[in-house]
């Protein structure tokens, strides 16, 4: 009995020191990680600050100068704003259309790519890595790169932006869709397979209905992102509201009313679709989301 207790104490001592060592090690790691992170942040900030034309501290007091210029001019010409809204509406519609088509086409491509690269569903299981790599690359190339090259190839217009955004969308959504499809229930697919259904029928009838609410939710989120992307691409030459914004803001004083009108339109659009897609996604996630 005495022997047993001694061994017990021994074991207790062991687990105590082992745990303390573990804690020490963990604290050291966390501490090091923290140091590294803080060092990265501080030194990174200093580099950015040094390489910038104006410093952070000097710039901070001036941060409102430009917005103030814009707002005051827009305020003085407030009467013109409704006219500007109307004038820029077609460009805004073009921007939204670019985003919508790109999302639509990209999402359809993403569904196909996702199904082709999901284990258990793939038409050609051996080609799964191939389709995955394709999606990776589609995701990795920034849309601005594709857009600029396409502008070179087919001239200025909405199509380069559509294609660029659609390619990126297909890659980004494809990955998400494939994660969703991975969790799909395979029983209906097997059931359909057993009646002699083709692959397309199996997917369309057995998989899509299951995953559609999730896909729709992701696609809506993407649409919202794509509206921004579409505006930005306009800024570098792909038309739409971004082009108008660039010209107005570049001219500076004298066109700040136009700039303000475009800001407001763009902001309102982004917030509108943001709220719309949040609401729709919320509905999809919490039942009632029958397609």
């Amino acid at each position: 009995m005495a022997d047993l207790t001694a061994r017990d104490i021994d074991r207790a001592g062991d687990s105590r020191s082992a745990y303390l060592a573990l804690v020490r090690r963990r604290q050291t790691y966390s501490f090091l990680l923290l140091i590294v992170f803080v060092a990265l942040m501080v030194s990174g900030f200093r580099i950015a600050n040094d390489r910038n034309a104006g410093g952070f501290v000097d710039g901070l007091p001036q941060i409102l100068d430009f917005p103030a210029d814009v707002v005051s001019e827009a305020w003085r010409n407030a009467a013109e704003l409704p006219g500007h809204f109307l004038a820029f509406l077609p460009a805004l519609i073009e921007t939204v259309n670019i985003a919508a088509v790109a999302t639509l086409v990209g999402a359809i491509a993403a569904i196909v790519l996702a199904l082709l690269s999901t284990r258990g569903l793939a038409r050609w299981p051996r080609a799964i890595p191939l389709f995955r790599r394709i999606m990776d690359i589609m995701r990795a190339i920034p849309d601005i790169v594709i857009a600029l090259i396409l502008i070179f190839l087919m001239g200025v217009g909405p199509m380069p932006a559509v294609i660029a955004i659609a390619i990126h969308t297909a890659g980004a959504l494809g990955k998400l869709f494939s994660e969703v499809a991975e969790n799909a229930d395979l029983k209906p697919v097997e059931g359909l397979q057993s009646v002699g259904a083709r692959w397309l029928q199996q997917m369309y009838l057995g998989v899509l209905p299951q995953i559609a609410p999730n896909l729709l939710s992701y696609a809506l989120l993407r649409f919202e992102i794509n509206i921004r992307a579409s505006a930005i691409l306009g800024f570098v030459g792909a038309g739409g509201i971004g082009y108008e914004l660039k010209n107005a803001i570049t001219w500076g004083q004298g066109q700040f009313a136009e700039s303000a009108a475009i800001f407001i339109l763009l902001f309102a659009t982004i917030v509108f679709f943001d709220q719309l897609s949040s609401a729709a996604r919320h509905r999809l996630a919490h039942g009632k989301g029958a397609l």
Partner: protein, 274 residues
Amino acid sequence: MLRIESLTKRFGANTAVDAASFTVDAPRMIGIIGASGAGKSTMLRMISRLTDASEGRILFDGRDVLQLRGRAKRAWQSDCAMIFQQFNLVPRLDVVSNVLHGTLGQRSTLATMFNLFPREDIHRAIDILERLGIAEHAAKRAEALSGGQQQRVAIARALMQEPKMILADEPIASLDPMNAQTVMEALRRIHEEDGRMVIANLHTLDTARRYCDRVIGMRLGRIVFDGTPAQLTTGAARDIYGAGADFSEDATSTEIRDRDLYAEAALRDAEATV
């Protein structure tokens, strides 16, 4: 009509079905029994070409089913309907649509995408549902039905295929005894009335005895028993299940009559304890 010749399936080092052979000359209702992992499911899945075989031949009316590819393979799948333990319906679609899926093998992809099923198919689907006693649920989503009802929808889908053969992989394993009985009776009736061959994997001896004309017993991938229900003695069952002398057949039972007895006994006992 069906002839299986040394059919083998290996998963890596593991041989799930090991040189199984048997012949069926006329449409019969055949039960396959065996312990879990004996290879029953694998056997059926090879016949319906859901899984590829490693070796052997499956001859149906003289043609080797294992050689079929593409369209011919799908035609075979449509000739040989499969019923699953978990029903494998499309839960979000309504019952009629699920039954109509039985015709997918014969319809063009595009037509099915847009739900263009001929009117006579729809009528036939309803007739089948009627026959199985679930026509009033036709418009409901499959997921809204009870297990027994869902399995009957699956049987309806199978019948919709106008199959030469129905394969059922433990069709009643996830059903309560009440529903199990309905489903087995439906299968038996189809066999008797339509004269279709039915091969069913079964978990329980008594079900096999009661509904089948012939019983095949599998153990560790091999066929170790092949005979009439009458030949299936408790001794034979012990061999199939690889069990010792303590083997109680009722451990596999799901039949209502037996279950009631069992429940009553438990109740009696419980009351005794109070």
